[in-house]
């Protein structure tokens, strides 16, 4: 079954055009680089399961990764850089703008395992409370205030349960409260599935950011000079932040357009009478719909099939239609299509509907 999958992937790769293949390779490269950094961060992690109380007076980030609390500020730009990468190149949907970065920072303060545990349990508690809170018809500020109290309660309970001292200051508590609120909003708006997906994305980005932040390379840069990290990432963000192309997720999103064009082109190649210029004038959909012989389409659609690729799919009737449509010269045609809009809008609408209304007219 795996060989099937591999041949399928290979076939897709062979058919892909350079425009799609190139971002794929670049994405792969960036992914690999990130994976290496995360692996470095993981290898740098002294201990995963130690309870924060065992570190004594030492800060958690210092004890586990050797990251001084005063240097927590220095890794912040690195987090921002990764968030920019995830948002404007990959197009990951996450809660908030820089929330993943804040969560990663909170993880650094609490610990690699304890962080997610604390976050998870406070979000869970907040979720359980929210329906009751919403019934009280509170304002948003009141709602957030109550959530903060609830999350602190959960933290106290956790400390008692695990018999440890969590070094949690005000900052992670607020982050948790905001995550709960985001989660609930998303749930109300787009349903549980979308909310869960976004929560998962947020969590994954946070974990990646967390380990990149504590990788050897990052720590080395910080140790070298405190100026290096902010300057370097600031410059990188300034260059990459100008990116205006498609995001990786948008290639997937708009792939149907590209795939259908391909299919149309393939169908167009089949009949012998078709000229070459059809190949260059790709967006057939526009030309077909813009031409006055639109009534061809409804005829070709079989009534029994609700999901049909309609006008282009059938080769028997389609061959005739295609050769008929390739007769008018392509280049002036698309020009005329646009110019026609001004002309027709001046005409009576009745006239226009009449022209296209019945198939017998053509």
């Amino acid at each position: 079954m795996y060989s099937d999958l591999i041949t399928k992937i290979r076939r897709i790769r062979d058919r892909a055009t350079p425009q799609v293949r190139r971002p794929f390779y670049i994405g792969l490269g960036v992914g690999l680089a990130l994976a290496v950094l995360v692996a470095l961060g993981l290898s740098n992690t002294e201990t995963f399961f130690a309870m924060p109380s065992s570190f004594g007076d030492q800060a958690t980030s210092q004890a586990i990764w050797g990251l001084k609390p005063s240097n927590l500020l220095m890794v912040l730009p690195l987090g921002a850089f990764l968030v920019v990468l995830a948002r404007s190149f990959v197009g990951v949907k996450a809660f908030g703008l820089f929330t993943p970065m804040l969560i990663a920072l909170a993880f650094l303060q609490i610990g690699p395992i304890m962080g997610p545990v604390v976050l998870g349990s406070s979000v869970l508690a907040g979720m359980l409370m929210t329906p009751t809170l919403l019934k009280l018809r509170m304002t948003r500020v009141g709602f957030l205030g109550t959530l903060i109290s609830a999350i602190v309660l959960v933290l106290v309970a956790l400390q008692g349960l695990l018999d440890t001292k969590l070094q949690v200051d005000a900052f992670p508590v607020i982050v948790c409260a905001l995550v709960v609120e985001r989660w609930w909003r998303q749930w109300e708006k787009d349903g549980a599935k979308e909310a869960a997906w976004q929560a998962f994305n947020t969590f994954m980005i946070s974990v990646v950011i967390q380990f990149v932040m504590v990788s050897h390379i990052a720590l080395m840069l910080i140790e070298w000079s405190p100026l290096l990290m902010p300057a370097f990432t600031g410059l990188a963000i300034a260059i990459l932040g100008r990116y205006r192309g498609l995001r990786l997720s948008e290639i997937h999103r708009f792939a149907p357009i590209w795939l259908e064009r391909r299919r149309v082109a393939k169908n167009a190649e089949l009949p012998e009478g078709v000229e070459e210029d059809r190949r260059s004038g790709a967006p057939d959909t526009r030309r077909i719909s813009a031409e006055p012989d639109v009534p061809e389409q409804p005829e070709g659609v079989p009534e029994s099939i609700p999901i049909a690729m309609n006008e282009r799919a059938p080769p028997p009737g389609g061959a005739q239609a295609n050769s008929a449509q390739s007769e008018p010269p392509t280049v002036p045609n698309s020009e005329a299509q646009f110019a026609a809009r001004f002309g027709t809008s001046a005409k009576l609408p009745v006239n226009k509907t009449w022209v296209i209304g019945s198939p017998e007219d053509v």
Binding site: T17, R244, G245, L246, W258, T285, T353
Partner: protein
């Protein structure tokens, strides 16, 4: 897609795909407008003040009506607690109405009543609304409960319910279909019709399984229809044929849509238009950040369309 990135360093003229009349070669995703490019366009053409105006439905309505553009009617605007206390739904509201938060987005916080029996109104789904429910909802709107993170107070806009044009109403089981027309300055460049389904609960929102139907700009006919990425030819609930449906008064729709952006001050805008039974096309809202899903619906690239109008994407 990464060609654009490299052009930053090259400082060359980049790639002018779709410029002129020859469309981009197929397989190219370059004619498609991504979110990054859309945001750049908005930064270029939509000034901050105009975006604020578009976001506030009350302010937008004032600007549109000043420009002589037909909008939906208004029963009341409640923007503070004083007005809220003076408002008596049983006395002041008709049988069928819509309550909207002035700064809401994506249909959040909109409540519709379709009929009234005694002291109770009924939603389209049939669930009852008492006077207390209505007041609670208005209060939540005024407190900014549906208006995003940055606003703590908002206005509730109360409008008479729109009855859709009969030919359009026949296409759908319930709910109000609306048109979305994307304009660059005063030129309409792409249009779609959003049709509610039973699955979308009467809402014309593509995320909630409403149908998106691409409308040909020249003829005003539906050329293609999709629900959740699947191509369809007939409405799944009513069985009515969608392909080839002629939007009534199409020229008027285009004319209205083209005026909206300039009236509010937006260079790149998406106008939401409903077709009223009596009044014809009416503007419900003008978006300063119109979505890009319309490209999948119409199977056309917004970037290519704009390039034809001479936009150079710098």
């Amino acid at each position: 897609m990464f060609e654009n990135l490299s052009s930053i360093w090259r400082k060359g003229d980049g790639r002018k795909v779709g410029h002129g009349m020859e469309p981009a070669p197929f397989g190219s995703l370059d004619e498609i407008l991504g979110i990054n490019m859309r945001n750049a366009l908005i930064a270029k053409y939509n000034p901050r003040s105009a975006i604020e105006r578009a976001r506030d439905k009350v302010a937008a309505k004032v600007a549109l009506e000043a420009a002589g553009i037909a909008c939906t009617g208004t029963i009341a605007v409640i923007d503070d607690h004083q007005k809220l206390n003076a408002f008596k739904p049983l006395r002041d509201m008709p049988d069928a109405w819509a309550i909207k938060p002035a700064r809401g987005s994506q249909g959040d916080g909109i409540v519709l009543s379709v009929r009234r029996e005694g002291d109770t109104w009924y939603k389209g789904s049939g669930s009852p609304l008492t006077e207390t429910d209505v007041m609670h909802h208005i209060q939540k709107v005024v407190d900014g409960g549906f208006s995003g993170d940055t606003v703590s107070e908002d206005a509730a806009l109360i409008e008479p319910l729109i009855i859709a044009d009969p030919t359009l109403a026949d296409l759908v089981p319930e709910g109000l279909p609306d048109l979305r027309v994307i304009c660059l300055h005063d030129e309409p460049i792409m249009a779609m019709l959003r049709l509610p389904t039973n699955a979308s609960d009467g809402k014309a929102n593509l995320h909630q399984r409403a149908i998106g139907a691409g409308v040909d700009l020249v003829t005003g006919q539906i050329t293609r229809a999709l629900v959740r990425g699947e191509v369809i030819t007939h409405h799944p609930d009513t069985g009515t044929k969608l392909i080839g449906y002629q939007v009534p008064g199409w020229d008027r729709v285009l004319e209205l849509a083209g005026k909206c952006g300039p009236a509010i001050g937006l260079g790149y805008s998406g106008s939401d238009i409903v077709l009223d039974k009596n009044d014809g096309p009416l503007i419900i809202e003008v978006n300063a950040h119109p979505g890009i899903e319309i490209q999948n619906i119409c199977q056309l690239g917004l970037k290519a369309q704009m390039a034809r109008l001479g936009e150079d994407f710098k």
